[in-house]
Amino acid sequence: MSDATIQATADSRARSLAGDAWDDLRRNKIFWVSSVLAALILLMALFPSLFTSADPTDCALARQHDGPSGGALFGFDFQGCDVFSRTVHGAGNSIEVGLLSTLLAGTIGLFFGMTAGYFGGVIDAILSRGIDIVLGIPVLLGAVVLSARLSGSGDDGVTAVTLTLGLLTWTSSARVMRSSVVAAKNQDYVAAARMLGASPARLMFRHILPNAIAPFIVVMALLLGTNIAAEATLSFLGVGLKGDAMSWGVQIAEAQKHARVAAAPLIWPSAFLAATVLAFIMLGDAIRDAFDPKLR
């Protein structure tokens, strides 16, 4: 069989937007760079011992703020713990908090934004005012309540922080989503699909959503970063992770106190955080572009 026929058969098989997007992504360098970065970070979150053999809990005040030595690439922190090892072991909780809370916030924001934008009228009014109510709840209050309620059930703070951020930070994404859905739903192609007898779910998910989601993706990628960092602020306020749970946020909140004496323990977890956010922002941009056939 010649190349040409293979080409022809391959070409005539129906492809979908997702498939095309994937084809496109596969050829996108930025996509690969960012996903390799993201994969590394995920791997680090799941299997920290692949990256370091040093015990993050092996700390001695005698080594306080010592410089890099041996296995301790980034030196030691205030407690005399290995900064590198703690950064690697902290990835798990940070990524968990960041990803899950963003996922939760994204889901809620998507649902509220889409429903409010699509149905409009009374439903829109109710949901929009609901957003206002949620906006009125101070994040600290949510964190305090959840961390107190959940600490009974043996939570080391990860669930509480995740839930707090997930439940309280979706409002801007909901509003952004709502306005782009409103814009998309008045398009002719939506009317065309309705004319064919498409169900509301179909209109929403096949037609409106793909065309309205781009700004939402931008907001989400940033929310991931903001939420990972927010964990640091919550830890600083004492409603973050508990006990000896490790995370970049805890590290940053601790290290900032001694920043003027030793900057390395602050810089490294921050750098990892920045790399994570960068990976997801680039990933978000690449995916968004891939799903825009006009850019192809």
Binding site: A8, D11, S12, R13, A14, R15, S16, L17, D20, Q187, D188, Y189, A191, A192, A193, R194, M195, L196, G197, A198, S199, R202, R206, H207, P210, N211, F291, D292, P293, K294, R296
Partner: protein, 324 residues
């Protein structure tokens, strides 16, 4: 009459309570027939089309498709009924989802009405449709922006055809196309009509195209039909002043006639549909207007000097100069 597939009675659509986009339209469409609709831009043609296919809810009046009152149907019944009446939208580009491949766009009707074509045969069906409308079946994986205007228009037609409806409402399907593609599309529509016994409502600005394709023509002005009749009657013996003005303005593709045509130039602006003139709506721009026109609304009916229905108190066959 059994062969009437579509009928409206006193169809009215008001936007926001005041804009009278469609204001009392009665029309009938028979099986295998093409009804051309012409009129000034903004007179309510697209709104009428949307009402017919159920994209807008009428403020009042009835639409029946094969005796079934569309305005009363709900949910699943309505969706099934909709299969029978489809539309080709005015703007081919905006009516195609930019994030779907052409295959998905044309295949969507099959997915919605999954009983029409079994799953395994859908791709074939889509390719057949592409072939029918004269597009390369290999192009199913392309996106709308990769096609030319005429091709996009044909994608819209293929989608409308997918469910084998009896009626297709075409809202200016050829206005953005060059003449040769326009010719292709019209040929296609006519062939499909012959093959499948389709009925068309054909909305267009280009009167020569309307004349070519239509069996009957309705002329709209400001939400109302002002004149209706067979194509020959309308084109050769228009009795409503607006129709006469409209026809006089048609450019003729023959440079030799330049400057030899008598054009009726309509003075004044189109009145706002939010605040239409009393009585006859055309009277503000009509050279024949009299007192009675402001007081009494002329009905669309056969008149003394008009062998076909015309909504003018002074309807008469005028000597409009026609080319060729």
């Amino acid at each position: 009459m059994t062969d009437v597939v579509l009928e409206t009675r006193d169809l009215v659509k008001h936007f926001k309570g005041e804009i009278r986009a469609v204001d009392g339209v009665d029309l009938q469409l028979r099986r295998g027939e093409t009804l051309g609709v012409v009129g000034e831009s903004g007179c309510g043609k697209s709104t009428l089309a949307k009402l017919l296919v159920g994209l807008e809810k009428p403020t009042s009046g009835a639409i029946s498709v094969r005796g079934q009152d569309m305005t009363r149907l709900k949910g699943g019944e309505l969706r099934r009924a909709r299969r029978n009446i489809q539309m080709v939208m005015q703007d081919p580009y905006t009516s195609l989802n930019p994030r779907m491949t052409v295959g998905d766009i044309i295949g969507e009707p099959f997915e919605i009405h999954s009983e029409v074509v079994p799953k395994g045969k859908r791709q074939q069906a889509v390719q057949d449709l592409l072939d029918t409308v004269g597009l390369n079946p290999d192009h199913i994986n392309r996106y709308p922006h990769q096609f030319s205007g005429g091709q996009r228009q044909r994608i819209g037609i293929a989608r409308a055809l997918a469910l084998r409806p009896e009626i297709i409402v075409c809202d200016e399907p050829v206005s953005a196309l060059d003449v040769s593609i326009q010719a292709q599309v019209i040929n296609l529509l006519e062939r499909l009509q012959d093959d499948f016994g389709l009925s068309y409502i054909f909305i267009a600005h280009d009167l020569s195209v309307v004349r070519h394709i239509s069996d009957r023509v309705a002329v709209m002005y400001l939400g109302k039909i002002v004149e209706q009749g067979h194509d020959v009657a309308i084109y050769n013996q228009p009795t409503h002043p607006y129709t006469q003005a409209l026809l006089s303005a048609v450019p003729v593709p023959d440079p030799r006639l330049r400057g030899h045509r008598k054009q009726i130039v309509l003075e004044g602006d189109v009145p706002s549909p939010a605040n239409p003139p009393s009585g006859c709506r055309f009277r503000t721009r009509c050279w024949k207007a009299q007192h009675v026109c402001a007081e009494q609304e002329p009905l669309l009916q056969i008149r003394e000097r008009s062998p076909h229905p015309s909504a003018c108190h002074f309807a008469e066959i005028g000597g409009v100069l026609r080319g060729r």
